[in-house]
Symmetry: C2
Amino acid sequence: MSTLPNSLKNISLFLERLPGIGEKTANRLTFFLLNLSEEDLKEFAENVATLKSKTKLCENCFNFTEKEICEICDNDERDHSIICVVETVLDLLSFEQGKIYNGVYHVLHGKIDPLNRVGPDDIKIGELIKRIKNQITDDGLRIKEIILATNPDMEGEATAVYIKNKLKTITDNELRITRLAYGLPMGANLEYADYMTLKKAIEGRNKF
Amino acid sequence: MSTLPNSLKNISLFLERLPGIGEKTANRLTFFLLNLSEEDLKEFAENVATLKSKTKLCENCFNFTEKEICEICDNDERDHSIICVVETVLDLLSFEQGKIYNGVYHVLHGKIDPLNRVGPDDIKIGELIKRIKNQITDDGLRIKEIILATNPDMEGEATAVYIKNKLKTITDNELRITRLAYGLPMGANLEYADYMTLKKAIEGRNKF
C-alpha cells in the first residue's frame, strides 16, 4: 500500500472497513472508481455525505425511510392485519423482491444474542408489543396474524420463542402466531442436505 | 428495491455498478455505511469527490501519483536500470506488497486484446519504447533489463511478444529481456494442477 498516493489510499482504506472487502478488492474497487465520470463520483459523494441525515426509521415498523412512515406502512393496498417480524431490513427486502407477501412488517434490527450481549430490550421487541397493544380495540384485535420470520438459527429461534410468549400474555390467544416453514430448499439435493434440515423436512411432511 | 428510500437506493445502485458487487451485496454495504459515523462518511465523500482531480499518472512509469513523478520513480534507492513491465497498477502493488523487487516499473494500463479492440497503440507501449530510447546514451544503454511481467494468458503473452520484438529493433540486443518463471504455485497440489502449468513446470525444471 505504501506506493499508492493518498488520494487513492484513503478511499481504499475506507472500503477495506466494509464487510467482505479485503485489501485487494478495496484496491480494485478504488481503481474502478477512477474510471467513472467526475459527475457520477460527485453525485455518489453527495449521497454518502447526506446518507445519515436523510435516512430515518419508520415510526411504525422501523423499516428505513426518508419520511416518518415508510412506503409499505403508508400503502393502503397492503394487508395491515398481518405483520411479518424480521431481524433486518435486508430480510424485508428479500420478501419484497419476490413479491410473495402483501402484509406489513416489523423490523427488530437484531436478534436476542446473549453471547454478544444483545438482550430483548436492545432490539425493537418492546415496540412490537406496544404496536400490537395499540390495535386492541373494543371490537377485539385488529391484527389477525404475526409471522415470526426470524432466521432458523439458535438466536433467531430464541427470539421467536421470546416474542411468542410475550404476545400470548397480551392477546389472550386470539392472535394467530406463525413461523416460516422449514424444509429442503427448492432445487436442493438430498445427498448434500444437512441432517437438521432433513429432520425438519420429515417432521413437516405434507400429504401429496 | 422499490421499498428502499432514495437516500439508500441511490448509494446501493451506485455500488452495484462496481465489479463483483451484486444487488444483495450493494444493499448490505449501504446498510453498513449507515452504521458508520457522520464524520467518516463525510471524509470518504470528500475523498471520492476529489479522487479524479487529485490522481494523476506518473509521467515516467504511469503508476498512480498525486505529483508528476510517482514515489517509486522518485526513489533513488531503487535500481532504475531494471524495468518491470506490468499490465495494471494492481499488478505493481502485488510486487510491492511482497517487497521482492527493487527495480522500477512501467504500467501498460492494459494488454493487447484484439477481441476487445485493444491494439498496441491503446496501451502505454509507445511510451515504454520512448522511455528506453531516451536512456540510450553515447556510453550505451543505461537500462540493463526489462522484465515482461504481463499475465500468463493469451493476451498477456501476445503483449509480451509484441514488446520484445519492438525492443529488439531499437536496442541491438544489448538489452536483457526476461519473462517471469512459470510453474507450480507454492503450496500447490500436483493432483489439481492444470496440464499447461505442469507442462511449463517440466519444461522449466531446474537442477536440484
